[in-house]
């Protein structure tokens, strides 16, 4: 896989985004905190990936995050809606204990997303 480093390092302490492309998928790996400050960058990255998917799945890996605030939830919901209308498969990786599961569950969004336990799991589907 080739790797492109995020183009906006300003808030890198708070959230690090990495996008890796291969023939089967676009993997977006998120580390750190997704809040009102950083969510616009996640949104932009997700929408760009969906636009460039060209038949590939887009995998959002949240297993390394420490916070998922409402601004991040909104970005994911928007990406989910775009993925449905553009018929791109958007898959979200979480693990049982991480900071993503709780907000997805209490808002009911877990039910409307395609959730996986790890990237390998998401790729098998």
């Amino acid at each position: 896989m080739s790797e492109s480093v995020d183009s906006e390092p300003t808030h890198e302490q708070l959230m690090v985004l990495r996008r890796r492309d291969d023939a089967r998928c676009i993997l977006i790996d998120v580390r750190g905190e997704i809040d009102a400050m950083t969510a616009p960058r996640l949104r932009e990255t997700l929408l760009t990936a969906l636009d460039e998917a060209d038949g590939r799945a887009v995998i959002l890996d949240l297993a390394g995050i420490e916070l998922l605030a409402s601004a991040g939830l909104a970005a994911i919901v928007e990406a989910q809606e775009v993925s449905e209308s553009s018929q791109v498969s958007l898959r979200v990786v979480v693990d049982d204990t991480n900071a993503a599961v709780r907000p997805l569950q209490v808002t009911g969004l877990a039910a409307s997303l395609r959730l996986y336990h790890d990237v390998a799991d998401a790729l098998r589907d």
Partner: protein, 159 residues
């Protein structure tokens, strides 16, 4: 603690709340719930209370209360802005849903002076009584932290 109502300060507030709760030996999952709720309340104040005006301040107070069955964190987030009803969009809807979902109670009071969000966390086990004491009280700074014992409700002994 009092911080300017700016998006960037939310991470500072989260850090302080995390430190304070960790010093009270708050259980990890419940600690994260409180941090999430405080973050949403602060984001709410930043986004709506001051929209279109010069940013004011947001005050965040955190203390614990001890009950017979355990301890709770009590958080208030106060701004001096004009309350605006949550917009009917996905963004703010999720913020309030998160707050209600991770705390035992959320009360929002608003008047001309501003908006006060008061939240009560889930009950967590008490520490042994030598550490906590029996009566409801405000928690001081973490043991060994500088800043004196009488800093009241401020996280991390802030002034």
């Amino acid at each position: 603690m009092v911080v300017p109502a700016q998006t960037a300060v939310a991470s500072v507030v989260r850090e302080r709340v995390t430190q304070w709760l960790a010093a009270q030996q708050w259980p990890e999952n419940e600690l994260h719930d409180v941090v999430m709720a405080v973050n949403e309340a602060v984001a709410n104040a930043v986004d709506h209370a001051y929209a279109g005006r010069a940013p004011g301040d947001v005050s965040v107070d955190l203390r614990q209360v001890v009950e017979p069955g355990g301890r709770r964190a009590v958080v208030s987030v106060v701004d001096e802005g004009r309350w605006r009803a949550p917009r009917a969009d996905r963004y703010r809807g999720h913020g309030l849903t998160v707050m209600h979902g991770v705390m035992d109670s959320v009360q929002i009071a608003h008047d001309k002076a501003g908006t006060r969000v008061t939240m009560l966390s889930a009950l967590v086990p008490r520490l042994d009584e030598a550490t906590v004491g029996e009566d409801e009280r405000s928690a001081g700074p973490p043991p060994g932290a500088p800043g004196g014992a009488d800093s009241g409700c401020e996280p991390s002994g802030a002034t």
